[in-house]
């Protein structure tokens, strides 16, 4: 009959026993043939487990993976360039609108032309700018502006979707 539990034997193999427990186990092992046999069996299994086979992936694994990484990097670059391009178009459009506002504010005939003081000039400039913005975003202006913006978003969205689709196709190759 075994005097040592499975847990103790496992701890013995893993070197997890303290000094006094280790001495006790050694004493029991010296006197118990059953325990010695069980320990030998466990040790044999332990040694077999150390030799378990390493599974092999396909030879082309690394090559395929590196290709996927390259595609991904390329797709990321393409997407970034596309987003940059769209952003620059929108920024340019905004700058044009701002430029128009400033231009119309500077060239609008008002009382400020009569005024010579600097503060009056600033105030009249902002008043003119506000008028120009109001004109642009008036009920007629806002619909034109909204239409252009929606069209821009639709077109860029379409190209962005196509770009993503192409990247995905490349990626899955």
């Amino acid at each position: 009959m075994n005097k040592l539990s499975d847990e103790i034997l496992n701890k013995y193999i893993d070197g997890d026993l303290d000094y006094s427990s280790l001495q006790h186990v050694n004493e029991v092992l010296a006197s118990s043939h059953e325990d010695q046999k069980k320990l030998n069996a466990l040790l044999a299994l332990h040694n077999e487990l150390k030799k378990i086979k390493e599974e092999q992936v396909a030879d082309s694994f690394t090559e395929l993976l590196m290709k996927r990484l390259q595609y991904r990097k390329k797709a990321f670059k393409e997407q970034r360039n596309f987003v940059l391009m769209i952003s620059s178009i929108f920024i340019t459009a905004i700058l044009v609108v701002v430029g128009l506002v400033v231009y119309s504010a500077l060239h609008q005939p008002s009382d400020s032309q009569i005024s010579t003081s600097y503060s009056n000039y600033i105030i009249s400039f902002f008043q003119s700018a506000a008028t120009a913005i109001t004109q642009i975003f008036s009920s007629k202006g806002i619909s034109v502006f909204g239409s252009i913006l929606s069209l821009g978003i639709l077109i860029s969205g379409y190209f962005f979707f196509e770009n993503l689709k192409a990247s995905k196709q490349n990626f899955s190759k």
């Binding site: 069996a41 466990l42 030799k51 390493e54 992936v57 690394t62 993976l65 990484l69």
Partner: protein, 188 residues
Amino acid sequence: MRNLTDLEIIASVNRGNQADYAIIIDRYKNKAFSLVKRMLKNEMEAEEVLQDCFLKAYNALNSFKQDAKFSTWFYRIVYNTTLSKLSAKKRKFENEMSSLEDHFNLESNYDFRVTENIDLSSFVNVMLEKLPSNYSSVLNLFYLNEMSCEEISEVMNISVANVKVMLHRSRNALLDLIIKNDLMREVS
């Protein structure tokens, strides 16, 4: 040429030398594949999952804190990705994880009788494929990847005590099967 350490390779990849990542892949692919395959028990799926793991690790390389070992960090990604795959397949792996305190009876669930001449080594490899995923993971990480119980606990996100319990139970279950199939004649 001297062998570069993992950290040196990662630093190089982070500097923009993407090709150096192939060294990391070659270094870990087979051991990681063994783990994934033994968890999923399906070669094709295992290879797909492993590719995803390497891609995930590559994307997260910048966030890798160098106070931990790369292997532990990487195997954690591998283990978690495989777990996600398993849960997607509804294999109730989480039940297995929480069943540590339940009655563990590998013998009845995985009764394996040797009908032909099989040696101990082949038997152990076959049984590893049949073990529940979490038990085969512990054995794989401990013996094949030569990780300590502390490292395994980090990878699997369980306590060191639980790792040891799982390790002991897996060994005992395997041993019972070996004795039952009279394979110990080889070593006695």
